[in-house]
Symmetry: C2
């Protein structure tokens, strides 16, 4: 039984490479989609540089006002990987070497040149933290209270999320259905707003596009209530038809 309480999460993306435009972030969409399935709503995202004071400020704001905070990036072995130190500082705890993380790394590097000081950096965690399993890479993710510290490399972050699937308390999963239509959104804007107002608990997002020389829009209806969602989608399709437009199920 899930409750009607809405569970929220924030995401903090840590890394100069995102802010410089060198790397196109993929973790925002990935974490958002994973949270949907867990019944947790991604409420806000911040991207900050590899600077301790910026990380501390964001961590303390975001963990206080959300049920969960996820971070990505900055947990490797190099000098620009300062996430663990910054999150420890944000919590006012010291950094320690986690024995189980050390053991995982020792095993991983047994046949890869051994556990050097630099590699041992990846076993450092804020005091009191537990590990998030990661089957593939030697470096584990880290949990400290409601903060989940994930890798920046998207496929490693994905493995860590997989390790958390079904383990966090959430509410009703957010459901969504999409209708597409070859219509300029400005033509049906008033009707869209009226449709949303007529269906409490449903939100309608309108996402215009330009394709094949024509304009259209996808209308994404979201709700935690399956019956309410279906009713809203049906109503929207009817109202589009009444204005002479054909709705395309699952979007265009």
């Amino acid at each position: 039984m899930t409750s009607d309480r809405i569970w929220t999460a924030a995401l903090l993306v840590i890394g100069d490479e995102i802010l410089s435009g060198r790397t196109q972030d993929k973790n925002i969409a990935q974490v958002a989609q994973w949270l949907n399935g867990e019944g947790i709503r991604l409420g806000e995202v911040r991207v900050v540089a590899d600077r301790e004071e910026a990380i501390v400020e964001a961590v303390n704001t975001l963990r206080a006002r959300n049920d969960y905070l996820f971070t990505t990036g900055g947990i490797g072995p190099t000098h620009d990987d300062i996430t663990v130190d910054a999150i420890a500082a944000a919590h006012g705890v010291s950094v320690v070497v986690h024995p189980a993380a050390r053991a995982v790394l020792e095993k991983h590097y047994e046949t890869r040149g051994g556990l050097t000081d630099a590699r041992l950096r990846m076993a450092r965690v804020p005091d009191g933290a537990t590990l998030i399993e990661n089957a593939m890479s030697g470096a584990p993710g880290i949990r400290l209270g409601n903060v989940f510290i994930l890798a920046g490399v998207p496929h490693i972050a994905a493995l860590m999320l997989q390790g958390l699937t079904g383990k966090l308390e959430g509410g009703h999963p957010m459901l969504s259905r999409t209708l597409g239509c070859w219509v300029p959104e400005s033509e049906i804007a008033d009707m869209l707003g009226a449709t949303e107002r007529a269906h409490a608990g449903c939100q309608i997002g309108s996402y215009p596009f330009f394709r094949e020389g024509r304009v259209g829009a996808n209308f994404v209806v979201r709700s935690t209530d399956a019956a309410g969602l279906d009713a809203c989608v049906e109503d929207l399709a009817g109202r589009l038809a009444a204005l002479g437009h054909t709705a395309v199920a699952d979007g265009i």
Copy 2:
């Protein structure tokens, strides 16, 4: 002549579609890369939902502590487009119809069914705002003080940025060079840190990858000083060679 002052910008991405994971954001990288060329550093990014209080909080924090604030999303004609109202509220000004924006829209919709009330919404601006040219779409971007309100659709945002190119005061452009190497970053982590410390004004980022069954990393050196940048890259290549590794110019 550009000064040594560092000019900073923040980006606020507004939109439920990013937080739901439906849409993969492309504006962060796009705005970051454009800012690099203008000599302005992207210092922080936030993503918030289509909720007025969330937008107001972010706008007022970010515009106060950065030289410039850019926003993307929420300036279309539908009910979920609340960016203009929220930014007006953040500045404590009312929303007015901008005569020139109205004229642009009237012309654009002349042969497309005329200027309806919904379309006229796109001519609404915070009182005191000026327009940002946009050659392709009828909807112009908006400038209010140090806040630049851009479209969410990436190619329209790109046109608006184009209209701003060369018009904002900035400092020395950030320069970067990349060296790639087929080496686990954990093997050369100490050397990397030492190299960065030996070159004041240069930052070295280390970005590991797994490809063709092998691990490697790209090292991105960044500086506003071209000679210092070259010296750091040369030193780094030499130190890699001394450890038995071949650096690949321009990265792998």
